[in-house]
């Protein structure tokens, strides 16, 4: 039987490790040891134990891979995953001209990054980087199914399992390594194209930033993938991923559409109420504040519907030092609490209302900003821009006055001018946003632009019309109180549709996918 390298190192160094030798020892019988030792092909497993400053990684030899997808099937069998979830996937890259054509395959599991962004974004600390092996581990028990990690990973590695309500990912068959076995994909590969090897972390870190990615291999980001890929020597210069022109709309995430738009509405409304209070208005402010509070509560309720495990929503507060998602939850929770006090103050006319209002608005703007920061992730280039921040705040600034006007608070004329101005800026931002997409060199941004100008074009036009009608035309040119509600509802519809487009037009960064359609990007 070969040595169990990770256990050996763990024992030597006496560091905290996630693998418990007790578990491995109690379940490892002599038969296991002999059978497994035979299975682990020496060339596919590190021959020695890890030294300090080292971790495991995958090596993928694109020159020998024949694209048979044994690795994918073996992975699904190993982990008992349904067919729709593939912790290891095989993409295709093609180039050249007949008959000097080359099609290469890219098989990828988790890249066991040095700075895993799945981990750093996780609001509940469900991820851990194993100090012994460097493997990025995920705990289904800790996970609440927020799926933020699926946005944070540029390689599409963590995948949400709707059957369980939690995410799962490749852990390099950590449990098999602990028994001296190699990973299922490595073991199943008929050509030995996948191996597990040792990487010296400092050297890799130094080299990672310098190396340019190959076609079809996603550009490295701040997460620092450890996977080493051997490219075929004769890969033609025009080689590229075969799925580039296949663009399907992404998941609209309806609960998040509702949650973001309604929290922004609530924050905008409280900000307007507070400004009106500062300016000396007092009509119906209490009613407007109570209604806004109800909207905010609805938004928070909607957000839990996005979770695979809503009952554990509270856990999302845990990682506020690190995760924007935690911060968002924290700020909106505080916003709601203080907004209650503010509404009560307005209702009862108690003193100090302006100060509480200021705090409410500050927390609200903080919450909206945290919301926007969640979406500023490198793996979703369409979102990853300050325009997202501007846009979220503009939604608040436009819907707030409209809502106040409809509630009968403040001077409708002035409110109409404010909301129309904000709507005008939104139109400018939208134009900038579209220009940014279509003028970019980035494959993902171009694909987003293509989606918006083809499949989603009519929806985009409707979104613009709703904005112009609801936030500019109706408020500026009518004075009927009932129309103010229509105007508000129309503008709200426009923002909702806009947010829906925001979600479904975001083309993620991803590894090369196969040509045929059903596999997730």
């Amino acid at each position: 039987m070969i040595a169990l390298p990770l256990l050996k190192r763990a024992t030597e160094d006496g560091v905290t490790f996630l693998l418990t030798p007790a578990r491995a020892a109690s379940s490892t019988s002599f038969t296991v040891a002999t059978a497994l030792a035979r299975e682990a092909t020496p060339a596919r497993m590190p021959p020695r134990a890890l030294a300090p400053g080292e971790q495991y990684r995958f090596h993928f030899d694109m020159a020998t891979c024949i694209g048979c997808k044994c690795c994918v099937v073996a992975c699904n069998e190993q982990n008992g995953n349904p067919a729709a979830i593939n912790w290891r996937r095989v993409g295709e890259i093609e180039g050249g001209w007949y008959p000097r054509t080359q099609r290469a395959y890219l098989s990828m599991g988790c890249n066991q990054c040095l700075e895993p962004t799945c981990l750093s974004g996780c609001p509940v600390d469900a991820y851990a980087k194993d100090p012994v092996t460097g493997i990025v581990l995920h705990s289904a028990d800790a996970c609440i199914g927020c799926q933020y990690c699926t946005w944070n990973c540029s390689y599409g590695v963590p995948q949400y399992n709707p059957e369980r309500g939690v995410v799962g990912k490749c852990d390099m068959c950590h449990g098999r390594l602990a028994l001296g076995q190699t990973a299922a994909c490595v073991s199943a590969c008929p050509t030995g194209a996948i191996q597990i090897e040792i990487v010296k972390i400092a050297e890799w870190r130094a080299a990672a930033s310098a190396s340019a990615p190959a076609a079809g291999v996603p550009a490295g980001d701040q997460s620092l993938s450890t996977t080493r890929i051997t490219l075929p020597v004769d890969l033609p210069p025009n080689a590229r991923a075969v799925d580039l022109l296949r663009v399907a709309p992404a998941d609209p995430h309806w609960p998040l559409v509702a949650m973001t738009v309604l929290t922004q509405l609530s924050v905008g409304a409280f900000a307007t109420i507070w400004l009106l209070q500062l300016l000396g208005a007092s009509t119906r402010l209490g009613v407007a504040a109570l209604t806004s509070l109800a909207v905010g509560a609805l938004a928070l309720a909607a957000s839990t519907l996005h979770l695979g495990r809503p009952i554990y929503a509270y856990r999302a507060l845990k990682m506020w030092k690190r995760s924007w998602l935690s911060r968002e939850v924290l700020l909106f929770t505080a916003f709601s609490a203080v907004a209650c006090l503010y509404a009560a103050a307005l209702w009862t006319g108690l003193p100090g209302g302006v100060l509480v209002g200021a705090l409410t608005v500050a927390l609200g703007i903080g919450g909206v900003t945290a919301s926007a920061c969640i979406y500023c992730v490198p793996s979703r280039p369409a979102w990853n821009t300050p325009l997202t921040l501007v846009q979220f705040n503009l939604t608040a600034a436009m819907l707030g006055p409209l809502f106040a006007a409809a509630s009968g608070a403040g001077n409708p004329r002035w409110l109409a001018i404010v909301s129309a101005t904000m709507a005008g800026i939104i139109l400018v931002v939208l134009t900038l946003r579209f220009f940014r997409l279509s003028a970019s060199d980035s494959v993902e941004l171009q694909a987003s632009a293509r989606l918006l100008s083809t499949t989603l074009a009519s929806r985009l036009v409707v979104r613009g019309v709703l904005l112009v009608v609801g936030a500019i035309a109706l408020p500026l040119f009518t004075a009927d109180p009932l129309i103010r509600w229509v105007s508000f509802a129309t503008a709200l519809g426009g923002e909702t549709l806009g947010r829906y487009l925001f979600f479904i037009s975001a083309v993620p960064k991803h590894m090369a996918a196969p040509y045929l359609g059903s596999e997730a990007a």
Binding site: T64, G145, G175, P190, V242, I311
Partner: protein, 729 residues
């Protein structure tokens, strides 16, 4: 969704738990079986050894057999998920008889009784030969042997053939003509020992990944691949010969021309072991490199280079599959390959063989033991000696042994349309998807008076047309042996019980025999496949495919034994090749060098149908997807059919990647294919995989058959490509 799941209290931890299995180690707990059953893969003819994991009566997992001489523990993606085929939702469970309201459940007694009565009525009215039988390459050898006797001696019709005629009959006929007998002469071991490997019309990296692994284990090889497509195999070759469609025969004749002209031939071997060299030399005189370059589209330099590499090889291996066989010139192309191998002495030696890589898991078994294109044991219908030999072994009057083969598969279909065949029994095959020129076949199956479909699956596109459906056990549910491409007999075993009332094909055949009243005469005392195996061993004794030294236990213990393995032979495990002594199965013991002539393929492109359509496979699927379409992971990895077209042609047609297109020939239309623009196909050619019933390539293929082997010309027909019209799908 349960409330507990909706709230997030239940993440199904039991279902997703892991545990340690004593054999395979750490894995998903529900994949850990109670016991492992050793068997052989039931998809293709590579013949990989594997174990099926059984838990509470269900097959839950598989693993490769590390000790198996073929695959050393590796499996392809189909093999890795093969347990999923057994518990598929569309398994046939009960006998079904067509009544007023369609197919209705009946008892087995009713089913077999009705079948035999109908067959006997047809035979009484129109003659014994008016019942046709079409079988398969999917059964175990014991079943083929039983079925052959049952059909020819019990049912009394010679019109019995298998779907094997659709895939390797050209190889069979080619071997018979060149060497006097069927039987691929080499071994997989040759892939590891040859210094030149020449693959013709074979994409083994995609279609036989485990053989690719064997080939890759040979560090010193030079790999030459002739294929009109740039397949993965072609991409990985040292030399890819992008031949024009169906110009392979001219290419080989051209290579023979060069090796003779440059004296790269083995004159000693030619003189001692072949006949017909002078005629061959004359016949290839006109295949000058220049002319061959024109026919094949290859450069003169590459022809010389190939001839030089092959002719100078210490041991050269030629492997081929459907690129050669699926052709009206298939048999003669096989003869050309054999010619090239023979004149250079590349046969009967380690690393040197002209080697047909067969298709189905037990196509070889039906070739050996079946009773279709030969008498069992590669005996000849025409040989009185062979017939007497067999009659004596079976203790039947020699007059009962037919003197000529009956109708081959395509001719059975034609005979149905002529009303020369009135009843048909189809076993474990799905012609509605696999037979060329669907329109004609559909008409035949709808015309026949009584159609019996015996299959492990129902409904299939074919079984839904049946008057009677007999539910059969499949791989994993029955016992017997398979022969792989290298003539290795491996054991398959029952891991689980068949679903519902399904029975093994062996039991069904014995039941039919009993109803026909011939069970005791033909199968005295038989109850298990081993009874058939024991008789087959006696029948094969002394023949080229000699099983007489084998036992089930020995086969099991060694992970297969190659024939010939006569009783008393010493080393069961050694690698065996045919014709090592240069003695062939012809009357004079010499191989025949056969002059063969290249001809253009039958349906040339026209202005109305400007593209040449090529058909083929993808690694995730097997044949007509009856099985792999039911395996969720394979269906996900390869969910739909597509059309490959060169980007220049696509631009001319103003098509974009992922557009939906139809492929139209004179005979029909394949609808709604996903367009794949790729430089792996040449301009003027397009490619469609043939696996999908809902995008059936045989809606456009033609009724053109090899005059010798009767194998269909699936590979080239003239088509045009059109954008799919909305509303027509």
């Amino acid at each position: 969704m349960s409330l507990r799941r909706a709230l997030g209290l239940d993440t199904r931890p039991e279902r997703y738990a892991y545990a340690v299995d004593p054999t395979i180690g750490y894995t998903a707990r529900r994949k850990i079986p109670d016991r492992w059953v050793r068997t052989t893969c039931g998809y293709c003819s590579v013949g990989c050894g594997m174990f099926v994991g059984v838990k509470e009566g269900r097959a839950v997992s598989v693993r490769g057999d590390l000790d198996h001489p073929v695959n050393a523990g590796m499996l392809c993606p189909k093999g890795l998920s093969e347990h999923e085929t057994i518990h598929a939702a569309n398994r046939a469970r009960f006998p079904l008889l067509r009544g007023r309201d369609g197919l209705e459940r009946v008892s087995w007694d009713d089913a077999i009784g009705t079948m035999v009565r109908k067959f006997r009525e047809v035979q009484a009215s129109y003659g014994p030969q008016t019942v046709g039988v079409i079988s398969t390459g999917q059964l175990v050898t014991e079943e083929f042997y039983t079925l052959g006797k049952l059909v020819q001696l019990g049912l009394g019709t010679p019109n019995y053939d298998g779907n094997t005629t659709l895939c390797m009959s050209a190889a069979v006929a080619g071997y018979k003509r060149s060497f006097g007998s069927d039987g691929p002469p080499g071994a997989y071991d040759d892939l590891e020992r040859a210094d030149v490997i020449f693959l013709i019309g074979a994409n083994i990296a995609d279609n036989h990944p485990i053989l690719w692994q064997r080939l890759e284990a040979n560090p010193g090889k030079t790999l030459i691949v002739a294929d009109p497509r740039v397949t993965k195999t072609a991409m990985l070759a040292d030399l890819h010969l992008p031949v024009k469609p169906r110009s392979d025969l001219a290419m080989i004749n051209g290579l023979i021309h060069i090796v003779i002209a440059r004296e790269l031939i083995d004159r000693e071997y030619i003189a001692a072991h072949t006949t017909g060299f002078d005629a061959l030399r004359e016949s290839v005189r006109e295949y000058t490199p220049e002319r061959v370059a024109e026919i094949t589209g290859l450069s003169v330099e590459n022809l010389h280079r190939t001839a030089w590499l092959y002719g100078n090889a210490r041991a050269a291996f030629i492997g081929w599959t459907m690129g050669v066989n699926h052709s009206t010139k298939g048999t003669e192309t096989v003869n050309a390959i054999n010619n090239l191998a023979l004149i250079t002495g590349n046969i009967g030696r380690s690393g040197a063989a002209p080697f047909s890589i067969t298709g189905q898991c037990n196509a070889m078994g039906t070739r050996e033991a079946g009773f279709t294109s030969s008498l069992p044991g590669y005996r000849h219908f025409a040989s009185a000696e062979d017939r007497e030999d067999l009659a004596a072994l079976w203790n039947v009057p020699v007059e009962q042994i037919p003197t000529a083969r009956g109708l081959p598969y395509p001719d059975i279909i034609e005979a149905i349309l002529d009303r020369r065949i009135r009843a048909l029994w189809i076993i474990a095959t799905n012609p509605i998807v696999s037979f060329p020129n669907l329109g004609v076949l559909r008409q035949a199956l709808e015309t026949v008076d009584f159609l019996v479909v015996q299959d492990g699956f129902h409904p299939t596109p074919t079984s839904t047309l049946a008057h009677l459906v007999l539910p059969a056990a499949i791989w994993g549910e029955k016992e017997g042996t398979y022969t792989n491409s290298e003539r290795r007999i491996s054991k398959v075993n029952r891991a689980v019980e068949p679903p519902g009332e399904a029975r093994t094909d062996f039991d069904i055949f014995l039941d039919v025999a009993a109803a026909l009243g011939c069970r005791e005469r033909l199968f005295p005392g038989w109850t298990t496949p081993e009874d058939a195996f024991e008789e087959w061993k006696r029948v094969s004794a002394g023949r080229l495919c000699d099983y007489s030294g084998m036992t089930y236990d020995a086969i099991e213990a060694l992970g297969g034994i190659q024939w010939p393995y006569p009783a008393g032979h010493a080393d069961a495990a050694e690698t065996r090749r045919l014709y090592t002594d240069g003695r062939f199965q012809t009357e004079d013991g010499k191989a025949r060098l056969l002059p063969v002539t290249w001809e253009p393929f039958p349906e040339q492109p026209t202005s109305a149908f400007p593209f040449v359509l090529n058909t083929g496979r993808t690694v995730e699927h097997w044949q007509t997807r009856t099985k792999t379409g039911q395996v969720p992971i394979l269906d996900r990895l390869s969910p739909n059919a597509w059309l490959e077209i060169n980007p220049r042609d696509a631009r001319t047609l103003r098509l974009k990647p992922f557009d939906r297109v139809d492929v139209v020939s004179q005979r029909g239309r394949i609808r709604n294919l996903e367009l794949r623009m790729t430089e792996t196909v040449a301009t003027g050619q397009v490619f469609v995989p043939f696996h999908w019933a809902n995008a059936n390539a045989n809606q456009v293929t033609q009724s053109a058959f090899d005059p010798i082997s009767r194998e269909p010309n699936y590979k080239q027909c003239a088509v045009r490509v059109e954008r799919t019209q909305r509303g027509t799908v």
